[in-house]
């Protein structure tokens, strides 16, 4: 069998799907994957780590009466794949040799090859020399533009992935994905004062992305932020209104609400929104969207990891819940139609309903109008990470914050964590500005860590708990 995934795999895949179907499976799915990864780290003015890695593997999933058995393996030989399939069948009490009245398998459809136009992407990516030079340029800019910098770091990762999906419903699709991310970070230290600031920039489907990167502008952004936060005081804790900046501010929707609109959460009974389609769950100012194709954005896909082309999914329209994000198992178990959102980190995970490019849509206000409307509150210019628990309690950290006093931004503050409950905070997002922007990130959940985009315009939350000192 060839190393690349092509129509040559059809015979073997059909034989596996036939074997599973005749054993009594409702559906059999095979996910093949090959990856080629490079990671680079520059520290101060030197490349200190280059980490290439390659992987090949398969994930085989069998459905029977709403349950599924999933087996992953690094062995892509015919015997290895058969062994994995037989193990998955056995989990559901099925045996390959036993013919049952199974759902008929009529063969795979014609291959839908999303990767055809992407064959040269890997070769077009920057060489190690070029990538190293870009990073060292970035750390040199940091040195020139920053003050009190104890550590300067630049990082670059290129993730190339080839996938093929075949299922007994005839699905047969192939794709090539390319993600690149570049980051700059610093640790500024002056006596007892310290600030650590980092920014990441990411894209999909753009081989030339690193060459187009404006490392000087990125370095200036990081240095300005580090300088501002170096002597910032700790925020005073309490309940207050908050204005969250655009781009990565979108993590609030991602954590507070996005995860709760995945069918995985309905299956677990952990979302308060399960029966509320058509109801007002957020302030009427809020329209929220999850889509698979936002040209070049980090969470974009030509097809999901179940071979389905992704759709633009309006989740909330003017505060009213419209749809859930659904994958194959989600549709089977909850009845919510698939949205092309079946995603997984690698062949080692079964796909699950996951966000892609998720954002709150632009409103009609200016960012200044939002800030002017706050008497005493917090302006969150840059967000850190966050999470949501099984009861819908979410949290996320503020990397760069400022006090709002009498409608104006005043002194910088650090150490803030925002916490809340999805059901309570969504109706409190009362104003959206007109400056929607997206930002690249990673989301970890049941099917591993996947590339996502978060985004929003500036938004105002009328009241939120700010943890601090």
């Amino acid at each position: 069998m060839t190393n690349a995934f092509s129509n040559q795999w059809r015979g073997l895949l059909e034989s596996l799907l036939h074997r599973g179907s005749t054993a009594g499976a409702d559906l059999v799915e095979v996910f093949l994957e090959g990856t080629d990864h490079i990671g680079l780290l520059a520290e101060q003015d030197r490349i200190t780590s280059v980490t290439p890695s390659f992987a090949r593997g398969a994930g085989l999933r069998v459905f029977r009466d709403g349950r599924d058995g999933f087996v992953s393996t690094n062995d892509l030989s015919e015997a290895g794949l058969q062994r994995a399939l037989d193990q998955a069948l056995a989990m559901l009490g099925l045996e390959a040799q036993q013919l049952t009245s199974a759902a008929a398998f009529e063969g795979l459809k014609q291959l839908t090859d999303h990767g055809l136009t992407k064959a040269d992407w890997l070769g077009r990516c920057p060489s190690l020399d070029q990538a190293s030079q870009c990073l060292l340029q970035g750390t040199a800019h940091l040195d020139r533009l920053g003050q009190h910098l104890q550590v300067r770091r630049g990082s670059y990762a290129r993730d190339w992935q080839e996938v093929m999906v075949a299922a007994s419903d005839g699905t047969f699709a192939r794709d090539i994905r390319l993600h690149q991310s570049t980051g700059l970070s610093v640790l500024a230290a002056d006596g007892d004062h310290r600030s650590s600031i980092g920014r990441r920039y990411g894209s999909s489907d753009r081989p030339d992305d690193l060459r187009d990167w404006d490392s000087e502008a990125s370095a200036a952004e990081v240095c300005t932020s580090a300088g501002t936060m170096l002597r910032a005081d700790y925020v005073d804790a309490g309940q207050m209104p908050a204005v969250l900046a655009n781009r990565f501010g979108g993590v609030i929707f991602h954590e507070a609400c996005g995860h709760l609109l995945e069918t995985t959460q309905i299956e677990r009974g952990t979302t308060p929104f399960a029966d509320r389609v058509g109801e007002l769950i957020a302030h009427p100012a809020v329209t929220a969207i999850d889509e698979g194709l936002s040209g070049g954005s980090f969470g974009s896909l030509s097809m999901d990891d179940e071979g389905m082309e992704p759709e633009r999914t309006v989740l909330i329209k003017d505060g009213v819940l419209q749809r859930f994000i659904s994958d194959r198992a989600g549709e089977l178990r909850t009845g919510h139609k698939r949205t092309g959102s079946g995603r997984r980190q690698s062949h080692a995970f079964a796909a699950a309903s996951r966000m892609r490019n998720t954002f709150i849509d632009a409103g009609s206000h200016t960012p200044e109008q939002l800030i002017e409307s706050v008497d005493q509150g917090l302006y969150c210019k840059a967000m850190g990470g966050g999470s949501v628990g099984p009861t819908g309690q979410f949290n996320f950290s503020v990397e760069e914050g400022y006090l709002i006093e009498n409608g104006k931004l005043t002194k910088p503050v650090k150490g803030a964590t925002l916490i809340g409950d999805a059901k309570e905070v969504m109706p409190r997002i009362s104003m959206c500005a007109n400056d929607l922007e997206l930002a690249a990130g990673f989301c970890g959940s049941v099917s591993g860590s996947v590339f996502v985009t978060v985004g929003q315009p500036h938004i105002k939350v009328d009241s939120i708990t700010v943890g601090g000192r």
Binding site: F54, S72, A88, R469
Partner: protein, 456 residues
Amino acid sequence: MMSNNNSLNASDLRDRLQALASREGIRRWDLGAACSDDCSVQVDRGEAKQLKASQRSSITVRVWNNDGLVGITSTTDLSDGGLEQALVGAHTASRFGNPEEIPQFSPLATAPLPELDRPLQPRQGILPLLDTLRDAEADLLGRHPAIQTVPYNGLSESLSQSLYLNSDGALRQMERTQASLYLYARAEEAGRKPRSGGAVRLGLGSSELDVQGCISEAVDRTVSHLDYRPIETGSYRVCFTPEAFLSLLGAFSSMFNARSVLDGVSLSQRDSIGSDVSVPFLNLHDDGLHPGHISAAAFDGEGTPTRRLSLIEGGTLQNFLHSEATARAFSVEPTGHAGLGAKVSVGPDWFVVGSNPQVSSGNSLNHRTESGPFVLIEDLSALHAGVKATQGSFSLPFDGWLVNNGERVSVEAATVAGDIRSVLSGIAHLEAESEVTHRGVSPHVWVDELSITGEA
């Protein structure tokens, strides 16, 4: 025994790599490899939800080129083609090796290994696991009417094999079995917010897991949070459970990490050894060989033997965790805490927090009998987001209780904030009884004057 289709043959791997290296003109190389055979189950209200199994393998190859620079590559492909690709990839990457810091073989890569009493346990297979978990879920759901689901649950068992070998003849290998059970329940009462709690158990094999103990702990924790109230924002005396304190300490482990010290991203400096970093009645060890450490390994990624290492003794910083390269920079021996890389990572194995028998805290606090007021913190969350390890600060959501006049009331959503240096130097008391958790060993730890923010 590892199944035939997914196992590593160390001497075969060494011979194949040696032949490939000779062909490529590579004289110095080392390799870390791992493979595993795992299975796990999840259930949902009596039904099997997902049954999973995996056979994984991976190798990481490091080579030194003719200029002495190091390159590295990882692959999951253990075929001759995969090995060749990894070796050539590592050779290519070695052009970018850092001449300022070249890792070498560990001088202890052939030293005797410690004896580990971790007998391999037979695996039960996936269907018996499913029965056990299904019964556990049913038992748990039957314990309290407010508990209606166990949304996060899993029972797994695995057999894994890992090895290290190098062109100087080092050859380390080990096999181990491990099983884990987690049960996180969700409870809800009319007109009240949903609450959750859970428990984890680890064992060498699935048949020896303390299933009943896990169920009881998950029920107790969940039910204890049903009657919640908001807490007023303010400064409180806090008692961390062993699990919570170990989580906090783990998030700031860069304080003890020589790699982080050399990189300038640790709260410690090169000359911090010998300085006072905590109250004098605190001892802290890293003990990867502790009998409670189910995942214990006899050697690290560079083949260095694992050992017990004193980090804080009587409040004074004693040692850092080292790889071969950082140990050389500090003129000490590697401590057995390295990964394998071009830039080798360093990490803790298993923290053991204890009291210094020579010094008393002067307090006799006990979380079971103190009348309060104090906040008992059971679990910290979002450590990846709320900890600034390079600055020492933290602001973290937690689950816990406010204890006042002997009454214990669950705290509605709240955060605790502070500075790890202040916490370590402001510990009021370590209780006498230590607990072995899945994160390490620690007693309950009391700290005065921590900031708590509530929704009140």
